[in-house]
Symmetry: C2
Subunit: 419 residues, 2 copies
Amino acid sequence: MHSPSPIIKSSLIEPDGGELVNLVVPEIERASRVLEAQALPKVSLTNIDLEWAHVISEGWASPLKGFMRENEYLQSLHFNSLKTTKNGSSIVVNMSLPIVLAIDDETKERIGCSTHVGLLSPNKVLIGILRGIEIYKHNKEERIARTWGTTVDGLPYVDEAISKGGNWLIGGDLEVFEPIKYNDGLDDYRLSPQELRNEFERREADAVFAFQLRNPVHNGHALLMNDTRRSLLEMGYNNPILLLHPLGGFTKVDDVPLHVRMEQHTKVLEDGILDPKTTIVAIFPSPMHYAGPTEVQWHAKARINGGANFYIVGRDPAGMPHPTQNRDLYDPDHGKKLLSMAPGLDKLHILPFRVAAYDIVHKKMAFFDPSRAKEFEFISGTKMRSYAKNGENPPEGFMSPSGWSVLANYYQTLQTEDC
Amino acid sequence: MHSPSPIIKSSLIEPDGGELVNLVVPEIERASRVLEAQALPKVSLTNIDLEWAHVISEGWASPLKGFMRENEYLQSLHFNSLKTTKNGSSIVVNMSLPIVLAIDDETKERIGCSTHVGLLSPNKVLIGILRGIEIYKHNKEERIARTWGTTVDGLPYVDEAISKGGNWLIGGDLEVFEPIKYNDGLDDYRLSPQELRNEFERREADAVFAFQLRNPVHNGHALLMNDTRRSLLEMGYNNPILLLHPLGGFTKVDDVPLHVRMEQHTKVLEDGILDPKTTIVAIFPSPMHYAGPTEVQWHAKARINGGANFYIVGRDPAGMPHPTQNRDLYDPDHGKKLLSMAPGLDKLHILPFRVAAYDIVHKKMAFFDPSRAKEFEFISGTKMRSYAKNGENPPEGFMSPSGWSVLANYYQTLQTEDC
């Protein structure tokens, strides 16, 4: 049983809105709230809804206090930001993805005039209450068009979470009875923004640089992260800490699953490719939209709340191949450009990726040098997966060998299961 | 020949960015600039492009100084606003529509490495120069999805201006050699933002309330405008001036054409339905997107530059019927809601429409009274047009009789031409 962590006075970057939202009910009030919820109309959450409840309840989306009401939804959809107040003054915080809860006609009917609803997990356990609810139309086409900039078939989050969802959205103030857990052996990695901040304080970090990823770490990533640390030291920081922050929520079927990625990341640290003394590995509980330049803002904004003041951004962040055309869904430079201009992200230092590739001569991952372009090989995710599937090894120096074994084993198992 | 109007020190609302952009070349430099343009690669403008050049050159889009470069385009598309500076401080101005110039592959090829291009009007006359150009990809689907929130077939501006447009956008700083004119007998109504401001100063307006329209004025509109003036007087303003500001650029084929509307508006003022002493009728030169809640922000923002500090907003502003479904394309309340939350529009007072309808008992347009709902009739644009087409009169008191004659004659002529 967890209690909310105490708020530590911190020299770290301030959370959006000035205060980290924590919507977990204090233990002493839990029993009475559960009793209250039992008497309310119920809304059933999908796995993705539960991930969002997790995200909101821990303050990743601070100052958002629940699933969006219509005014928040419209601002997010049209402006990628929310107007709010801090100490009485008007401020703008970034909020690029609509964080909403869809319900169907039958559920809306059942809720009737109730002002609060109980929330049921996919396992039919009461996990919280949504208070002061507002129900408004879920115009799916408009939501999709404005979030993804396309309405093409085959967008993974749309297929999984929106098309199947109901015709109504329900917003309100969230409270959850307990910190949300998944019991998959990885909950200890799911540090809340407050727990991360406590850990950064404990380590006396004077700079925190976040690396969002949903892929295995190869030595090009490691080069980049180590080089960033070196730069920060040169800039005069004494103790920059890396937050290696794999996304842990919904991902598309051909992405490497979370438990494999976490095992791979662990090996990379064990092998010393990244230094455990200056690295924290934790899971970011958000589901993935694959909404490119719109989503990368969410990835960055949430890390402000998690205590990061530097954010590393690469080519085509949160992107994917176009579902029906032979090209990237997004212009690979737009994510980086938007991050540098997005409302509410001014206080985060954006660190653009330098391109790393496999240096054939020196047999290692190195920053690409255009003057000897022919001596470099770009190893894509697809190529990496094809090595693993075929039981081949990638070139020496591409990835820590024990990290590679994790991947290779996973893909070999997959193939066995396929037969 | 016009010279740019002198900037008058004004107590009116400040234009966006602090200064009204005026991109018309001073007369003394005109000859040399034309000579320069003759030697440059040329870009041909469509009618809609020319309307935008007009809009930009007069400062309706201040502080925008030309067709958007990619950074401006992306901010407009994703944030409906632009970051800029005023007196060294960072500010945000509203900018909800991408104001862009599309070129095709062949034109891009022809421009080559030139940094400036000459602009040719649809009549093949050199009208200006675009300087410091930047050419970037025109992802039409993304532009449409993010601007309209739908990619459905049948959006009038998309069909007219985007689908046919080239695969590239060209941004840069605009200058035009002379104020843009259309020689259609209506140019005198096309007052620039500076000319409007001068006129408001001359009349010693202490409040300016703008009414955007693209339809004939009926007595319900007039009631609303007169009631707004009464409210402003009650609020303590001494001389509120109404800017009756019909949109003059591209409209869809079944809208009433500009010259008919202008004639109708003139009759309404002649009949004293609106008071000429406290009303300025002028043409807003922008083309129409029919992009609902996204476009209404543009309509409001441009009127800030035109000197208005109050903006009247109705049901479903800048909306239209869904092209393929039996419903409005946009939620009719979203426009009003977004205006109240949009970045950069804080300084404009938004005045929501009260609903007017035909009061059958008192034979006049009146504010709808739900307690005697049955005594009201809603006369839609479609119904109004069907009266005019069938040679019938609308109910007494719906519209000034001489204003109605203008409409009736137009639709009768149309039918004759159809036969």
